[in-house]
Amino acid sequence: MAGASGRGLVKPAPFAYQAPATVDEALRLLGADSAVLAGGQSLVPLLNLRLARPERVVDINGIGELDYISADDGPLRIGAMTRQVALERSELVHRRWPLLHKAVRFVGHAQIRSRGTVGGSVAHADPAAELPAALTALDARFHLRSSGGARTVGPSEFFLGPLYTAREPDELLVEIEVPEQPEGSRSGFAEHARTHGDFATAGAAAVVAPGRVGIALLGAGPVPARAAAAERALAGGAEPREAAALAARDIEDEHRRALLTELARRAIEEAMA
C-alpha cells in the first residue's frame, strides 16, 4: 500500500536506529550516547514520555544468538534476549528452577511478557521487579561483554541502585547464568501489587534446600537485596515467622515493614511446605 507513512505522528525524540544481527556488531555500536532496545517494555515508555532521549537506539531483537534457555553443562543459561514468555513456558525452568517460573508470572501481563526479555528486566534494574529479586535469591551470575572483553558479576556487584547497574555504556548483558540447585530444593514467591500485573509494592523470593537458604526482597530498598540475617536464622532452625521478621526488620516505613514481613513469611512457608 502506498502512502502508509504516518507522517508527523511521532512521540519519541529523534534517534538514530541500528539493528545489528550479531553480538559483535552490537558491541561496536554501543557507547555513551546509545540505549539498548531489548523487549522495549520499559525503554519505549521512557522514549514516548521523552524521559529518555538517546542519540542512538541499538535494537538487539534481531540477534538470534541471544535467545536461548539451556542447561546442557549444569547451570541454567538464559540468553539475554529470551522473552519472559519463553521463561514462563519452559518445562526445564519449571522443573528445575521453579522460583523463576513462579516469579515471571508476576511480571506485568501476558501482553508485556510476550515482548519483555529476561535480560531487559535485569538490565533495567527496577528495585520492585520480580526477576532481579528471584535471580538474587538464586545467586545468579550476569555475563557482560564489550568489544574490549567480557566479565561476569553477581547480583550484589551488578545492582547498584534504582535503574542503575554496573553495566558500562559499551557493555551488553549477554547471558544470565543460574547455578544448579541442590537436590530437594524448594522455593516460594509472594508479592503485593494493587492489581495483578501492576508494579509490585513489595515482594519476597525464597529458596530453601538442605544446606542452602536464599531469601531476597523486592521493593525493600534501592536494589534487590538478600536478607542475610533471615537466611542465617532459617538455616539455624528458626520458624518462618521469626525469619520473616528478621528479613524486614531494617525497613523504616512501618507499613512496608509489615507488608514485607508478611510476604517474606508467605514465600518462606511456601518454600518449606
Binding site: 500500500m1 522495549g40 535494537d59
Partner: protein, 159 residues
C-alpha cells in the same frame, strides 16, 4: 526507513521514521483505526494487537520492529463479516459502553482463549488485568469472555 508488514493477511508498505510507534503506523499509516491508543506507556492495553499470534502492546513497539512480521488487529477478527464469537458475546453481555478499550480486550482475550481454552474464572480475571475499562465495569466483560469460551470450546468438539 522502508518497511513492510502483513496485517490481517494483507501486505502494507510504508516509509517511517524509526521513532514511529507501531500503534501510530497501524492507525495512520495503514489506516486501520480499530486499534485505539490510550496511555502510550503500556499500561491501559487499548492498543493491544497480535504479533505472530501473541498479544503485544503496539504502543511499545517501533513500527520498524514489525518489518517482515504478521500482525492481527481487531479488523481481522471478523473475517467474512460475521462477528467473532468474542465480539458477539461482548455485544450480547453489554461488555462495552464507549468501546474505546474493546479492541484491546478482544485481541488480548482471543489469544488467551486460544492458549487457555479451559481457563477458570480466576485465571480469566488475571488475564483481563492487562486491559483497563473506565466505563462498563468488568462484570459484563468477564461474562462475555466466559460465554465466548464456552462457545469456542463447543465449536472445537467433533459433532
Amino acid at each position: 526507513m522502508r518497511m513492510s508488514v502483513e496485517i490481517n493477511g494483507r501486505d502494507y508498505e510504508g516509509d517511517v521514521e524509526p521513532r514511529t510507534l507501531l500503534s501510530d503506523f497501524i492507525r495512520h499509516g495503514a489506516g486501520l483505526t480499530g486499534t485505539k491508543v490510550g496511555c502510550e506507556q503500556g499500561v491501559c492495553g487499548a492498543c493491544t494487537v497480535q504479533l505472530d499470534g501473541e498479544p503485544v502492546r503496539s504502543c511499545l513497539m517501533l513500527a520498524v520492529q514489525a518489518n517482515g512480521r504478521a500482525l492481527r488487529t481487531v479488523e481481522g477478527l471478523s473475517g467474512d463479516g460475521a462477528l467473532h464469537p468474542l465480539q458477539r458475546a461482548f455485544h450480547e453481555a453489554h461488555a462495552l459502553q464507549c468501546g474505546f478499550c474493546t479492541a484491546g480486550f478482544l485481541m488480548s482475550m482471543e489469544a488467551f482463549l486460544r492458549q487457555h481454552p479451559d481457563a477458570g474464572e480466576e485465571e480469566l480475571r488475571e488475564a483481563l488485568a492487562g486491559n483497563l475499562c473506565r466505563c462498563t465495569g468488568y462484570l459484563g466483560i468477564i461474562e462475555a469472555v466466559e460465554d465466548a469460551a464456552r462457545e469456542l470450546r463447543g465449536a472445537d468438539r467433533p459433532a
